[in-house]
Symmetry: C2
Subunit: 417 residues, 2 copies
């Protein structure tokens, strides 16, 4: 079962926005057993949309399109698709009732002519009801290809995919499985890692595909395979992962990427009824954001301080002024004091602290650009590690966040912690 994901909008082609819709949809389709062969972004132009519809017709089983369903003149997806399918737009009473109620209840104003157009849908389309917005999704079929059109506003798209599209796909397509296992490694570069696992890689069964995903401070290895027998595929991948662990067990930090590291930390803390806080300097709020993006996190994440200015490390967090003068603000001692103080102030079991120089220029210390100290406070004491992440700024911050999460995760999976 092949699929394509299409996002329509000039804002993507001029780089005004990062297209996050297609990653979300691709992930859902992959989980539903589809092989997503292309992700494509095109202009809000009739000819571009028609070319896309033609090129995927009978080539893939499912095309999921987002964007261009709004009420304004630049939204031409619906009428272009309708024309391509030689269909007519008809008023859908259920959608009209919903749009009318949404406007009255939420925006406190009557439905306008423009709003009413949202309730016009191709006569042969199956409607995917949009409870959280005014533009409905729709499905039209041409020979072997289903074309699904969804609004481009991310939370509306997500609502429809989860509540309307997925159940429809499960009913209308045969079960097929894509299984991925990502192994997160750290401490060894991509090429050295490849050398170490060369023999194992050369002997992988042809049905299993290996990918290397390098990023600052870590390399992810992904094993993928597909088929009808989910259990057999999972077993086959699991066997390979066991062999891999014998070779590079020393640099594997996690076997689970379905759940990002902050989420794993959340679950570990929750199960132990423990809590965490952060004290951030060079990571500037990114560590806190990693946690607060998780619904329900407030039971384990108590909060944090972003002591960007040196003064605030002293005044707000209580880091010793003498230590800063003697050791510099970018030092192991300061990282450890920040972690300990955050743990005390927020009355948590763990705390993570970062102090460093992300660049581009040297800041309040003489530390070379790229230097970062991570401090970790645990129920058994506080420690820190020093890292040199090089440049640019973006890489330094990302590496520091990854490394900090990894250090606290390793503490949490230690026995007796």
């Amino acid at each position: 079962m092949k699929a394509a994901v299409v996002t329509i909008g000039d804002e993507i082609l001029i780089g005004q926005i990062v297209d996050t819709n297609s990653a979300f949809i691709a992930k859902q389709l992959d989980e539903l057993g589809f092989q997503v062969v292309e992700v494509l972004s095109i202009a809000d132009q009739e000819q571009a949309i028609v070319n896309m519809l033609q090129s995927y017709q009978n080539k893939v089983d499912l095309v999921v399109i987002t964007g261009g369903l709004g009420p304004t003149k630049d939204d031409i997806t619906k009428k272009t698709i309708c024309k391509f399918f030689n269909d007519d737009l008809v008023l859908n009473q259920e959608v009209l009732t919903h749009v009318t109620r949404l406007l009255e209840d939420f925006y406190n104003r009557p439905v306008s002519e423009i709003n009413k157009q949202q309730a016009l849908v191709p006569s042969r389309a199956k409607i995917l009801f949009n409870k959280v917005g005014t533009a409905p999704g729709m499905i039209l079929q041409n020979n072997k290809t289903f074309f699904v059109s969804l609004p481009g506003v991310p939370f509306e798209m997500k609502y429809i995919v989860e509540n309307e599209l997925k159940p429809w796909v499960i009913t209308n397509f045969d079960a097929f499985y894509n299984v991925h296992q990502t192994i997160i490694t750290q401490g060894v570069g991509e090429s050295l890692l490849a050398e170490r696992i060369a023999n194992w890689e050369n002997n992988l069964p042809p049905a299993i595909k290996l990918a290397y995903l390098p990023s600052p401070g870590m390399v992810k290895l992904r094993l993928s395979s597909s088929g009808n027998d989910k259990q057999a595929i999972e077993q086959s991948i699991s066997n390979q992962v066991s062999m891999l662990a014998l070779i590079i067990g020393d640099c594997i930090i996690s076997y689970d990427e379905q759940l990002p590291l902050p989420h794993q930390i959340y679950l570990l803390l929750k199960s132990k009824k423990q809590t965490i806080a952060v004290a951030e300097s060079c990571t500037g709020g990114k560590l806190a954001t990693c946690f607060t993006e998780i619904p329900g996190i407030s039971s384990v994440f108590k909060g944090g301080v972003i002591t960007y200015a040196t003064d605030s490390k002293v005044n707000l967090l209580g880091v010793s002024q003498d230590t800063i003068l003697e050791q510099s603000v970018v030092s192991a001692q300061v990282a450890e004091q920040m972690a300990t103080q955050a743990k005390n102030k927020f009355q948590t079991d763990y705390a993570i602290a970062s102090t460093g120089n992300a660049g581009p220029l040297k800041g309040d210390s003489d530390a070379e650009v790229g230097t970062v100290h991570i401090g970790i406070a645990t129920p058994h004491g506080t420690f820190s590690e020093k890292f040199m992440f090089g440049q640019p700024r973006e890489k330094v911050v990302k590496s520091a966040v990854n490394k900090a999460l990894e250090l606290v995760y390793k503490e949490l999976i230690k026995k007796n912690n």
Copy 2:
């Protein structure tokens, strides 16, 4: 001049990562005067790459491809492009010297056979030197189309685009200009906005294209036009913006989207030699992150507290326990105290505070899911506003961040502040 942007990698097609490379490249190409007609993601498969090369050949002037240039077996872009062009891979001595030095200096290990392969390049390719990594970029030409291949690691790709590709494009292509002006509006929904500006929109010159970009809490309008005479295009767009301001001036909050709102706030504060801090509850670190992503921000951004737990609002920030008990933790009074206390603790001129319930469940207060109070402390006093952002969580947090930035921006552009 037409261009296409291509990212190669199964990790995009299975939704494992969000492709940020293509937005960056598309933006650069747009600024260089190209019309980016498609952004495409394909698999690490020879046939998929060949199909892509064939389909863009002689259709566009420039194709910028990222991904698949690493040293491991799943990296097949270089050899596939080389084969497609009937070229041979030859050793580039300059690249080899660089790779050898990088490994010795940075990773403290000798160059391996795998690493040496990074220095193999198609014999007819122009090399785009990669100072910050081991995989060079390259350019190959076929009739009227230039194919550019770049590594997929974002900071390496960005380095090569900025330092190698852009100068080459400027030398090899005629000057052409895309001009965009984004107007950020707030307080009026997309359809109502469309109604208010319908007459103006109907009378726009055909050369100017209008787009509506709705997102939680704001609608952006983008006017775009292209041509050889940059000044004339800018004038023509500027005239339309002036007319638009007469119609919807009351809901325009900014005319500048090249610079994101946090960056504008940074420049305003810097020019006034003023400073800012944050106290975040429901925004959980996202406001701080908006600021700390800006290089050089430490001169104006002093830091922040993330008082996620109610206790920490009292203990760390000094919000009154009585106020929380009397008014609830999600209240105007608490938002204002948080802002005032953050301003005092960080000794800044401004502070932004958020307290609310992002959902999915009710938290430490009875406030309905979606309720957010934003507090703003200024040199002239503190105020707050209450918002109902509905659901889901993602929308609530995003809306709260946008609204908070907007409120402080509006204060900063007021006369006498």
